[in-house]
Symmetry: C2
Subunit: 317 residues, 2 copies
């Protein structure tokens, strides 16, 4: 059993093995998770977190990979967390993507890690914020969090990231699909990728039209549209410039502090709810829940009354 | 304010307006929600619930619509709950789909309703099980629950349905994509739709190969693959036959009772967790959570310790 304090010290010196080890400890509900979190607390808040999301097939991984290169070219270090079953990090991509990603694998100022995509309460796994803290404490200047852009996970990425980039492309990941999935609202920056293909201009035009209708969380920040062809690198430098501009805007408007507070609040709440869930299963007993479920299926009790009983039992412990 | 008991009485006589009204009451956290649930309890457990899921574009709505027709042809009544932002019920579909759906709109033994797709804790909205209870009490023989097949919602549909149908098609919704999204495991029946198109045989073959690797929740039920071309109605009667066969199998193996108990248990737990969440925001005060979040962002407290404080405050109330 590794000593947590020593691991953190080594991670802060940039030792990849220690960083990987710490993420493994916090990713799931390990016995040392709390200790790691407690000792990391003082080292938090330095990394800038960029969320990257979009439907499968829009070129999310290609864009992430190109962005890693662009950030490194400015001298900054990059951590990447992939929470996406279709990401090459997690093993689901075509060969080309893998090779592209591996071009960063010899750069020791780039750290890439995939995380399990299913959380305890649905949506993003609760390990992601903890893994973020590890990379933050380890001194990465920028952390990219890549999530698959459908369902709850990508809505949650906005609560993790300082800047959220939503990628679209002609086809399945177009603006209308994205609007339906509710992911337009969470964007700080739109990327229209595959801009060299037919239909990209239509996506950009649809986006602009829908933008007018969306009353998102943004105040004073006009969500820009950046056109890229990530496979060739086209538009990637501009994307990074826009990300940095958003960071400057967030910092000067104090919105950054506010976002991070909200992020911490939802993280705390998620941990507390997870704990309550564990207690439902232990102190009140799985037997009690199962017995209540029997009464409900038999039509002798309604689920709200059953939930009240479960809660009373919890509060009485 | 309508009288709940009277509404339930009218719903049980098949009055569409009363059914719709009751669903509106239970869909969200209305003051009468608990009363409705309490009075519905005794009338539950008669409807057979079929979950229909799959990626956008596989022809989910078309299949659902064709299935409605096939079920009606056997004399049974059908309720439909659409929890899918791309469903024609919820307004996102192309004209053809809408017209297809409207062909059932003059049949008073078909009831179609869309529900908000985002739940309080991510995944399926907590209103769905309640709306199911309304349709059950109203006497619909079969209730179809259609959810979009990506993210958490469609995994949750399996915990709502007696029989879960996963639809695939050549293209984006193929077997490999589905495996990545984790939706193969939840299937009781696979449908390969658009079977008249190129690539359908490949999807079926991939499915069979992956099936061998999947150790799902099924015991003793070999998940069949049904080929359909829902737009023309091809294969739909066979699909219904297979659904009925699965129902017979569930009933004879007592798996049906067990599934319904698990369903009730997760419903009770979700309600209880929602209540805890409300209490975090009220009795312990949003101020307390926000203050804890401040400490966390300042690096003076870790999120686990903050969650402990939040829980202690809850348990002390």
């Amino acid at each position: 059993m590794a000593d947590v304090s020593e691991l953190i010290e080594r991670a802060r010196l940039g030792q990849i093995g220690a960083i990987a080890r710490l993420i493994s400890l916090v990713e799931r509900d390990s016995p040392q998770r709390r200790q790691v979190a407690a000792e990391l607390a003082a080292h938090a808040g330095r990394a800038y977190v960029v969320g990257v999301t979009g439907a499968p097939g829009v070129g999310k991984s290609t864009t992430t990979s190109a962005l890693i290169g662009a950030i490194r070219a400015t001298g900054r270090s990059v951590g990447v967390l992939a929470v996406d079953p279709s990401s090459p990090f997690t093993g689901g991509a075509v060969l080309g993507d893998r090779i592209r990603m591996q071009s960063h694998s010899t750069d020791d100022r780039v750290f890439i890690r995939s995380l399990a995509s299913r959380g305890q309460l649905g949506g993003i796994t609760s390990g992601v914020p903890q893994a973020l803290r590890v990379l933050d404490a380890a001194g990465y200047d920028v952390v990219l969090v890549e999530t698959v852009g459908v369902g709850q996970a990508e809505l949650d990425v906005a609560s993790l990231a300082d800047t959220t980039v939503v990628i679209l492309a002609p086809g399945m990941g177009d603006a209308i699909q994205a609007a339906k999935a509710g992911i337009l609202e969470i964007a700080d920056i739109y990327v229209v990728n595959k801009a060299d293909r037919e239909g990209a201009d239509v996506v950009a035009r649809d986006l602009r039209q829908m933008q007018a209708k969306i009353s998102g969380r943004k105040t004073g920040w006009e969500v820009p549209i950046v056109k890229t062809a990530s496979a060739t690198g086209q538009g990637i430098d501009e994307l990074l410039t826009v990300i940095d501009r958003h960071r400057d805007w967030l910092t000067s408007s104090e919105e950054l502090t506010e976002r991070r507070r909200l992020r911490a609040a939802s993280e705390i709440e998620a941990i507390a709810l997870g704990e309550v869930r564990k207690r439902f299963a232990s102190s009140t007993g799985p037997g009690r829940l199962y017995a209540a479920a029997l009464e409900v299926t038999a039509g002798r009790l309604d689920p709200f009354a059953a939930a009240d009983e479960l809660l009373s039992a919890l509060l009485a412990t």
